[in-house]
Symmetry: C2
């Protein structure tokens, strides 16, 4: 019960002290979340109020199901961009179909996350290697920032990749609205400056730490208030400044998303990609914050929580949500003690939905664009390319490919190309298991790589030590390796495969071992095994391999050599055993 409802673990010891800290954190996060929710809804191509809806139910559900004490869920930049890219292919922005499809996308994504959580499929997130996710987020940040430039310039654009957006800006350069720019540019400058400097500036003017924190987080609210007032007072809307306009007041009405199977099949892949990308982000943030207080999170339960959040978002008229990095850090820094802080934030967002929306009529879209640009620039980490290149060129290649495809083609293609390339590179790297031809260390029962140690081998007996588990990606290599060794040395009569580090042998590798056995028998060579682990042996017993094996199975390699080359072991054992007191080397 507590596994599926982590709220039961922390709510029993909840006290007044925690309540105070959670309320303060909720206030700060609410102030930060109102402009971001509006902005990310527009980024996703949705009406502004949808962003508010997506910031109520999910936060309450996360408080019930989530295992992180500080994670703040809600609309985030990357998932909003992915929503726009996925739904923009199907129908035009501003239509009820578009909104319905975005809700269905969140719902389907929630179902997938929930299903993966119940089936404990958290390992699926492993498909996304770090260079791929890092490159993808950098490229998404660049696409999002570029996509906001038209809003800042007061021109229309709807491209989903860098060159489409830049081409549209170029084509509409003559239509730039200088009134919009006159509002947006100062807002952008103020937000950019306040991000790093406002808190210190306030403290220098004698404002206490806590108040300075709250006030500095309110910078986007200040920018919104100032530009909205300016638009209202100078009637800038008539001068061509696009404004948010009528935003419905009141809480969303719970509904179910359209049950349209054709639509669902069209959004299945985007839903899966949003789910996985969102989950990877969520789990990274949650683990980072949990470690700071030596708490723990449960990756499979996080899938369930994130699934519940997305389903909750969808049925309350919202869109795809994820654990956000910057808002979680703000929540944590503000002292949030439990997920109740998130529930209090939800109350704040609900109050905003009830009472704040009339004031958003004259809010210029350019101000929200400025908010987004400043927020997503923290996602862009071009230095990661250089760091990754220094460490591993193949990983850097996967990262650069992901960035280029995301920028040049689109977000879905970018992440899919990255995943495909990661898998190919992984298969390439693991397609050669670590193997060594070994011989006996004189005077001991130890066997070591003949290339690195002075060891003794018996004529006609070849011993190959396999240092890794055998799976289909690396099984064929062993066949090729053995075939080459046996073809180049016609004197070989016995071949011993030494399996001290083989933890598993899958069906493909078993087939390879059977092929090796037949091949060696046809070549007049007997195949033996030594040092096979118990679980591997158990599996072999369930196949015809052992009965077809031309040779024997030895408990230790020394036993094998004593049986196959008795003259050798007798000779070397009579030597002094000086070597036995050394620790076994890593070889």
């Amino acid at each position: 019960m507590q596994r599926y409802f982590p709220i039961l673990t922390w709510s029993r010891s909840y006290d007044r002290d925690m309540l105070g800290q959670d309320l303060l954190a909720a206030l700060i996060v609410t102030i930060m979340l109102i402009p971001q929710s509006l902005a990310y809804a527009l980024l996703a191509g949705l009406p502004a109020e949808v962003g508010l809806y997506a910031s109520i139910a999910p936060l309450i559900l996360y408080a019930i199901f989530g295992t992180s004490r500080a994670l703040a869920v809600g609309p985030v930049a990357v998932a909003s961009l992915m929503t726009a890219a996925a739904i923009g292919k199907l129908t035009a922005q501003g239509t009820p179909e578009y909104y319905g499809a975005a809700v269905a996308l969140a719902f389907l994504s929630g179902l997938m996350l929930l299903g993966m959580g119940v089936l404990r499929l958290g390992f699926m997130a492993n498909f996304l290697s770090h260079p791929v996710i890092s490159g993808f987020i950098t490229a998404s940040g660049l696409v999002i920032a570029a996509g906001q430039l038209p809003q800042l310039l007061g021109i229309k654009a709807s491209g989903h990749n860098l060159h489409e957006i830049l081409a549209e800006i170029w084509a509409h350069l003559g239509n730039i609205s200088f009134a919009t720019l006159a509002l947006g540019l100062p807002a952008l400058g103020f937000l950019y400056w306040s991000r790093g400097n406002l808190k210190g500036w306030l403290q220098k003017r004698g404002i206490s730490g806590a108040s300075a924190t709250i006030l500095s987080r309110a910078a986007p609210i200040a920018a919104i208030t100032a530009t909205t007032l300016a638009t209202y007072l100078f009637n800038l809307s008539a001068a061509g400044v696009p404004i948010v306009g009528e935003v419905p007041t009141g809480l969303p009405v719970p509904t179910l998303p359209p049950l349209d199977l054709e639509l669902w099949s069209q959004i299945a892949i985007p839903a899966l990609l949003i789910s996985v990308v969102g989950y990877v982000e969520t789990i990274s943030v949650a683990q980072t914050l949990a470690a700071k207080r030596r708490q723990r999170i449960d990756p499979d339960q996080e899938l369930i929580a994130l699934g519940a959040c997305n389903i909750g978002s969808a049925v309350s008229g919202g869109f795809a949500v994820t654990g956000g990095f910057s808002r979680s850090v703000v929540n944590f820094d503000a002292g949030a003690q439990t997920p109740a802080a998130g529930a209090f934030t939800a109350v704040g967002m609900a109050l905003a939905t009830l009472f704040l929306t009339p004031m958003l009529f004259f809010l210029p879209k350019a101000t929200l664009a400025a908010t987004i640009i400043v927020a997503v620039l923290t996602l862009v980490d071009l230095g990661a390319i250089k760091r990754t290149f220094a460490y591993s060129r193949t990983d850097a290649a996967a990262m650069v490919a992901t960035i280029l495809v995301t920028l040049g083609v689109g977000v879905e293609q970018g992440i899919l190309a990255g995943v495909a390339l990661s898998l190919v590179l992984h298969l390439y790297r693991t397609s050669r298991p670590h193997v060594a031809i070994v011989g006996q260390v004189p005077g001991t029962e130890h066997f070591r790589n003949i290339d690195r140690h002075a060891v003794i081998t018996a004529p006609g007996v070849l011993t190959i030590r396999v240092d890794e588990s055998l799976y289909f990606p690396n099984a064929r290599f062993l066949e090729d390796f053995i075939q080459d060794r046996v073809a180049e040395d016609p004197s070989v009569k016995d071949l011993i495969l030494m399996f001290p580090a083989v933890n598993a042998v899958d069906s493909s590798a078993l087939e390879s071992l059977e092929a090796i056995n037949h091949m060696l028998r046809d070549s007049g060579v007997t195949l033996h095994l030594s040092e096979v682990k118990g679980p591997v042996m158990d599996r072999f017993r369930r196949s015809p391999f052992l009965s077809e094996l031309s040779g024997r199975i030895f408990l230790t390699q020394y036993d094998a050599m004593r049986a196959l080359a008795p003259e050798l072991t007798a000779r070397t054992l009579s030597a002094c055993r000086r070597d036995t007191q050394r620790a076994p080397e890593a070889s």
Copy 2:
């Protein structure tokens, strides 16, 4: 030079004895290949003579570029089915566009194989696990056999999966041509019987071994001759027996396939699948046969050879070719010594194209269908499901999924589903690296799993031994594992990661190690490393990880314990060193 032209290695020592054996093998293979080439061309939806064209140039090119002494290339059942499935989606059978697309498919497949060979990408074939390829071939055999039933019944059908074919047969049951059935059924029975029994029956009647072999291989020719004669004599074509009809005489005219980029992009995925499936088949056959004579084949050069064969097939008006299992075994058994046997077979096929085609006019298509059915039934291995299930249920699941999707949806979907499932299962199996918490074996410098051995641990020091290389599929597990251990034991002050078996650490795993380091620092735990291998250490030096590491790096685990828990090592070392003369255990 010899690497790319293996003909240079064997042609110098070619002698009269080899010539005689190669000529005999070529005669037997030619007799077998004529009916099969015609039949597989029809299976691919192409005119019968295209099968003959595909059996000339490729055989000569393989003799130049191939490294197997006995492999026989040409049209095969599975590649023909895949061709029909790929081109059937684009255009109707019997049109010049269909033929052009099939030629382009072979050309593109050849380019891909050649490219993979030059770039030494043979490891890409590892994507196909054995259960997937085995299930795919079984299912293909069933689809092909079912697809020939309409031909045998004299009704029309064009389905590409089992239920489409069966539905078509059911719908046309009223149109069965009993004249066709009267020809086809006896042909089927004779061919099925002769496959296992004709050679022995002939030998019992006093015919010598070599002649009996040739005659038994001629059974399809006999069936073709008998049914063609019957059709001609009794004018069965007028009675509704479909016949091959006009087959152009003469060698094909070299041409280039249509340079139609849209077509090429439509057939790119089928071309890749045909390439990989064909390559995996080719390499398995070639390795099996090479082992019998202790020869070796070069997997990357085989890619080049197969690529050249397909390009050669395409420019000479043929379609996709592959190394065939049964014809290669026949070639080997008939005593083929060198790839020259293949070149002689090509001459035989060219003669057939020049002089035999007029005789094919009255050949009933039902006879060719019977030839195909008998040939592909050897591909069906339903027992493999049971054997695989006994060995590994997950592998059996991948096999059954591949079979079901291939039968129920189509060949391309079947192989893609199988590959995807194999990769998911592989990631799942490798998503948990083998790790153990270790302690010191009393009185030694050895460290062993605390769950399996009576070992000593120091309070506040936790040592985790990692037994596998760290890559993105398993990197996150280590983070979770360490977070859990540290969260459940607040006394831990030092954590040592022992890396004796870690051969590689990719960027994702490095990122995980950095995250572990930060997480532990935030939790007040110092992270140390011990027994890190040289190549891994070299890579670490190219990243900021070492400078950020909160603890130290120790050459051996014993050094680490001596530094972090000196009182422990002093105490245990004073004990008798009775344990040191044992060989190190596999643990």
